[in-house]
Amino acid sequence: MEFNESFILGCSAIGAGLAVIAGIGPGVGQGIAAGHAAAAVGRNPGAKSDITSTMLLGQAVAETTGLYGLLIAMLLLFVKPLV
């Protein structure tokens, strides 16, 4: 079956939209990390700077999977591998 370019572009746009759903996971994960960090600061306020830097490092690493989704969306929209 032969598909024309507009159809494939439309499907790519839908796929890009589905790909950025990957942002849910890192959002939940970062929220959990921040919540635990807040609890840790509450328990031990003296270690606030250590806790904050560890939390930010962990969150930035956890963010990676969401960014992979963003990359897939970008590829579908701009590099257009399927057309």
Binding site: L56, V61, M74, L77, F78
Partner: protein, 240 residues
Amino acid sequence: MGQGILLSAGADVDFMIHGVFSYELFGQTVWITTTHVCLLIVVLLLMGFSCVAGRVIKRAKDVPGTFQNIVELIVEMLQNMVGSTMGKSAGKFVNYIGTIFIFILICNISGLFGLRPPTADYGVTLPLGVMTFCIIHFNKFKHQKVSGVLKGLCDPWPIWAPINIIGDVAVPISLSLRLFANVLSGTVMMALVYGLLSKIAIAWPGVLHVYFDLFSGAIQTYVFCMLTMTYVSDAIGSDA
């Protein structure tokens, strides 16, 4: 059709890499892009700063002036960061880590000065990841010897060797993609704000600049250097 999908609003949303001029090399068309230009600006800036800083430090005074204070502050901060993560082997790596830290930081925050951040181009971040990969494996072979590397590869059983190899190869890819995608997402967001809301984008996008360029850029710089140091000190092992 082109980029019609996202840009259907007709506004000039622009975050792509543009070619400045092209030339022929061995039958291939090679483009000099905005990334090269921005990279050149950043590198020239850093070289100028280094020359001035070197001259000031060479004639250092007992009571430091403002500029000497700033330079000493930067060097001390980098030494503390590397020292607290790498312990005994920090001395050998503080130069490399410091260099890539300053370079990536200036690249990331160059969006603040109207440049397109060079790190929002995969051609800039992949070499950084590959350099980290080379340093990891050079130190692995140097400190654990071939037998140690083979033993690490066949951990826990020899059957797992392909998966361990994939895990090794994934390190530079994930490092470079993390940096690239973070900076790119900031660039895209700023381009959307300026392109689609150009009528009301007065002064308040400064807040977004602080988040996307300064905060996110600094965090990603820190993460890149931190992960590099962690991997390298992991490769050196306990015998260092």
